[in-house]
Amino acid sequence: MELQAVLMAAGGGSRMMDLTYNTPKPLLPVGNKPLIWYPLNLLERVGFEEVIVITTKEVQKMISTDPKVKLDVKMKLDLVCIQEDADMGTADALRHIQQKVKTDVLVVSCDLITDAALHEVVDLFRAHNATLSMLMSKAHEFTETVPGQKGKKKTGEQRDFVGVDGTGKRLLFMANEADLDEGVVIRKSIMRKHPRMHIKTGLVDAHLYCLKKSVVDFLADNKSISSIRGELVPYLVRKQFSKSTNSPKVIDETHQNLKKNDSNISSRDEELLHLTQERSCWNDHRGDMSDAYHGGRLRCYVHIMDEGICYRVNTLAAYIEANRLAPKLFDEPAVHPSAVVSERCLIGADSIIGASCQISDKTSIKRSTIGVSTTVREKVKVTNSIIMHGVTIEEGCNIQGSVICSNAVIGRGADIKYCLVGSAQRIEPDAEVNITYHYKSITYNNCHKVSK
């Protein structure tokens, strides 16, 4: 077996609490499919047959009971539950499933929506016998207005500095602005080995990693590392150039201890690999006297996508952008066949109508997503918005640039611009709401789904 897929779906979505306080992040609807469907679909398309999914009990329950959450994948899903309040980082989660990991792993995050060619990442992992291979993408500006925000964008998050070599594939340096005191510090030994380094900011880390099995075993022995992105990856990138890795003790020792009975096999094979490298007339760099890879055993690679879709849905802005682009990733018809759509309504080509919806006369729906079992009454105008499941929109409403969460009720004649209406909230009729969030914190009467 070559690679095992591990899907991390236990994250809380801490940067979009407005959406996730009621619905767990893996199950947020994007283009009327749960968010977790996108990485699962990606893995299925490239040929994986089983996936280990690390998630919370709540998500597992919803997947098995809620009919609206249909995962629709043919792969075998091995769900591993962890406690919600355990505060486990991604590396902790990997450590938790160490016994299940029999070979190299491909770690994917549940909030990744991409059409990347995975073979580019895996080929780097295979060809160079790398310890780590990851996927990154050029960040695209988010063009949609985010509800609840008066200005254009919030202050930028701390930047990530990624240093790659001349070919753009070998990862030399990785640090987050938060960890740097005054400036970017690069060791002389790295500069001597790789005099040409390109430092890039503005890259989105897709949180898709190919890791060698020895790294998972290493994590089991080093319980201080809790996050893959935050701690493990920078550690591995630094360790490439550490002096001790020419006889790598930290990572390979655990690997070799586990293979005690095959020790003479692995040493003969090492000799053959060494002989191959010695006889091959290839070198990964030019200009100095060192052998290929500078004799280093630990190598980290990155594939940076220039074009194509790659989003991490971990902020509200990303969520909205993803909803706009998600329909491009699958071929299903925009209007679900079970939706009841009246003939005298105007539905734009880039809108999606979910299953069992009821869209009445004289409504206009442009550039929006309407969730499953939503009812939209007459003379409603919905533009640039995301309507989740089970929502009722009464007559004459005008909804623009907003996100309406599940089971909300919008009273008749309401005018909602650039708002986020929380789950099961109720907007009074004729209300005019601009650029706010409506949460549990605002008291309203108990919501009832107004039926005709």
């Binding site: 080929d123 295979r126 091959s280």
Partner: protein, 402 residues
């Protein structure tokens, strides 16, 4: 048909007729052959790699692939049909990470060791037959990634023979250990010890004060020169290099690392530098049955010009690279590398960037050429120093041995 049978029966009286089919990889312009190959690959569940770009008409019978379209994009991740170490090997071949006849053979045998280790005989099957059948799709896959070299072909023949010779009552574990030992022994004898033996003979031919010319990066020639330097021979080396591979830079690095004083020129400066040269050492990719030497493109140039200047040309080649093919020109059987390698970017401009738009322009990136035996003075093998024309004798002796 009846007539065909009739003629073969007649010929059968005169001499044992062996009908040899032309290999598929030199008949790419024949659609029937291509269809047959596609069917075979489909049966073996290996994806077909499509040719790329316009091919020069003289070489349109050969495959031409692009490095930007690896075969792995058509395979599933994780690969189930093909053993992961074979997928890795195929990638390393097609990207040039493992290049050079010896390196490719060693890497191939190493991958086969992994395959044999992970192999389990299915019920009702015999290891000696089933394992050979398991290896066939892998070999097709590797062939698609990069055409097999003659040394790899010989190694595969050896392995297949060893596998078929496993007695049926042999237990699986025992058989596997035996095969792994065979592979180790093959590498040890044919590559490592052969290199030692060739060095010993070659060092006799190197005298103090020599100026030795080498071409490209031959692992064997580099080994010889390093050994000679260890044995305190005083000589200097001229490394001749050529585009687009520029392998000479790697040879230069390895020699200078040892302390040998080197000069570096491009092949266009060959006749300028040759008056200084006392000997030419060349490596070989394969030695053909009619005495021709198949080696990196440019080798025949070097041999020709060296002959004109009356400089002795010595070819170093292990016996496992001898093959029974006969070739007199470099057209019939060769390898076409990625034509995009010929594009060069200088000062931000790539002149040939849109070469595909020019309908009458073809880029040709040949990999091998053949040198006639008239230009080669001596072949140094692990069996001794022989003239080029004695290759068929060696082959006959080898066949008798086996």
């Amino acid at each position: 048909s009846g007539l065909g049978m009739f003629s073969t029966i007649i010929c059968g009286f005169l001499s044992p007729l062996v009908v040899k089919r032309l290999p598929e990889h030199v008949q790419v312009d024949d659609p029937a052959v291509v269809k047959r190959l596609a069917k075979k690959l489909e049966r073996q569940q290996i994806p077909l790699r499509s040719d790329y770009g316009y091919k020069v008409s003289l070489f349109s019978h050969l495959h031409q692939y692009s490095r930007k379209a690896p075969l792995t994009q058509l395979l599933s991740i994780p690969s189930t049909v093909i053993h992961p170490s074979i997928v890795r090997l195929g990638l390393q071949y097609s990207q040039g990470i493992v290049a050079g006849s010896n390196a490719r053979s060693v890497a191939l045998l190493h991958a086969f060791k992994q395959v044999i280790r992970d192999y389990t005989t299915p019920p009702n099957e015999e290891l000696s037959r089933d394992l050979v059948n398991k290896l066939k799709p892998y070999i097709s896959f590797l062939n698609q990634c990069r055409p097999l070299s003659a040394s790899m072909g010989n190694a595969i023949k050896y392995i297949k023979k060893e596998i078929s010779n496993i007695p049926s009552q042999c237990k699986e574990e025992e058989a596997k250990t035996k095969l792994l030992k065979c592979i180790d022994r093959y590498i040890e004898e044919k590559i490592v010890l052969a290199a030692k033996a060739i060095s010993k003979y070659a060092i006799e031919k190197i005298s103090d004060g020599d100026v030795i010319l080498v071409y490209g990066c031959s692992s064997l020639v580099n080994h010889i020169l390093c050994e000679a330097f260890e044995k305190s021979r005083k000589f200097r080396v001229i490394v001749v290099d050529s585009r687009p591979r520029l392998e000479g830079r790697e040879a230069l690095r390895r020699l200078v690392q040892r302390g040998i004083s080197c000069t570096y020129v491009l092949i266009s400066a060959l006749s300028y530098i040759l008056p200084e040269v006392s000997k030419v050492f060349l490596g070989a990719h394969a030695l053909l049955a009619n005495g021709y030497v198949m080696s990196r493109v440019g080798t025949s140039q070097i041999a020709l010009v060296a002959r004109t200047f009356n400089v002795p040309v010595l070819v170093c080649c292990e016996t496992y690279k001898f093959c029974e093919r006969v070739q007199t020109d470099s057209f019939v059987s060769n390898e076409l590398d990625d034509p995009d390698d010929l594009m060069v970017t200088r000062k931000g401009k790539t002149q040939l960037e849109n070469w595909q738009d020019v309908s009458s322009l073809g880029l040709l990136n040949l990999v091998y050429d053949v040198t006639p035996p008239d230009f080669v003075d001596l072949v140094i093998t692990d069996l001794g120093m022989i003239p080029c024309t004695s290759v068929p004798v060696v082959l006959r002796v080898k066949n008798l041995d086996q």
